[in-house]
């Protein structure tokens, strides 16, 4: 993409937005986190030979376009005492999925709710939700409450607790062909 320029006779030309290469470099720089300095966007601008305002505009645009899904800190729930991590899976009639998902999503402790492809005959479950709690007992009690209050008795479900976490990274992707061409991918598929 050609860079957009505001041309003036007397002052140096000022680009109005980052060019594609600068965007790639910015993406790679912030995938590991926003710099912890007083003026982080100014620092990023210096690194990609641009200006603070253009960096801020670009990040705001990415947020607006939904390319940045979340822009904030992410806690390690395990370290904060939320050690019971349950994936609750439901085998829901296709015509009932929307209604059941809406019920599940209305509970405070549900943090994610996705419809996924079944893998028959091995795996009949098509609706997944995550519940994080401080103990298995509290999580199981909570799920019972969800079944009661949501009147979900007729829907077969299973609770899969994590027994060990082997890898957690931020869903970082750096292309092998060009380490500057970094892509950051959402971790919680």
């Amino acid at each position: 993409m050609q860079q957009v320029l505001a041309v003036s006779k007397d002052t140096p030309v000022m680009p109005l937005s980052l060019d594609d290469d600068q965007k790639k470099r910015l993406r790679a720089l912030i995938q590991d986190g926003l710099p912890l300095v007083e003026a982080p966007y100014q620092l990023l601008a210096e690194r990609i030979d641009s200006q603070e305002q253009l960096v801020m505009d670009c990040i705001a645009q990415w947020q607006q376009d939904g390319l940045i899904k979340r822009y904030g800190l992410v806690v390690n729930h395990h370290k904060l005492g939320y050690v019971a991590n349950a994936m609750v899976v439901w085998n829901v009639d296709d015509c009932e999925v929307d209604a059941v998902a809406a019920k599940l999503s209305s509970f405070d402790a549900v943090t994610l709710c996705y419809r996924r492809r079944r893998q028959l005959p091995e795996w009949p479950y098509n609706l997944f939700c995550m519940i994080h709690g401080k103990s298995r007992e509290t999580v199981l009690a909570y799920i019972q409450r969800m079944v009661q209050e949501g009147q979900l008795h007729h829907i077969e479900h299973k609770v899969l607790f994590s027994t060990k976490q082997y890898k957690q990274r931020g869903g970082r992707y750096v292309s092998k062909s060009d380490s500057r061409d970094g892509k950051v991918l959402e971790g919680a598929a």
């Binding site: 926003l34 007083e38 940045i68 899904k69 992410v74 943090t111 996705y114 996924r116 992707y173």
Partner: protein, 147 residues
């Protein structure tokens, strides 16, 4: 946990401001110095209470592939297989869970086609089938912890 750490977590889970001095704004809101905010965030990153500080890009909209996959691995081979699976850079999270399908991991690939390619490679490398369960619809994402 110190009350300022808690306040930082509760506040910044919702978003970091895009402005000249985002940390000064937080410091003013919490009534502490900007330095203290910077030191505390760094400390929480170092000791693992925070796993990330910054943007999370949308994989599919960035042109990438993303899926959740599961495998059924005999207990006595689990450690060896998990090592093989995790050696793939596309594997993001990997959890052992209490089910016959006992290994659950997220795959994040550079292109949508990369998901199927990586699954084939993992099956070849481990000798076990991979069950691919891509997201068909997202109903709710509110991954947030109030302290």
């Amino acid at each position: 946990m110190h009350h300022v750490d808690k306040a930082i977590i509760n506040q910044l889970q919702d978003g970091i401001a895009v402005c000249d001095n985002p940390y000064l704004d937080i410091a003013n809101q919490l009534g502490v110095s900007e330095d203290e905010i910077l030191v505390r965030i760094q400390r929480m990153l170092d000791d693992g209470r925070l796993s990330r500080f910054g943007p999370m890009f949308h994989a599919e909209r960035m042109g990438g592939g993303l899926t959740l996959a599961a495998m059924s691995i005999p207990e006595n081979e689990f450690d060896a297989v998990v090592e093989k699976v995790n050696s793939f850079p596309e594997v993001a999270h990997n959890y052992e869970r209490n089910h016959r399908l006992n290994m659950w991991f997220v795959l994040a690939t550079e292109t949508p086609e990369g998901v199927a390619d990586t699954i084939k490679k993992i099956e070849f490398s481990t000798g076990y089938p991979v069950y691919n369960m891509p997201k068909q619809e997202e109903f709710y994402v509110g991954l947030r912890f109030t302290l």
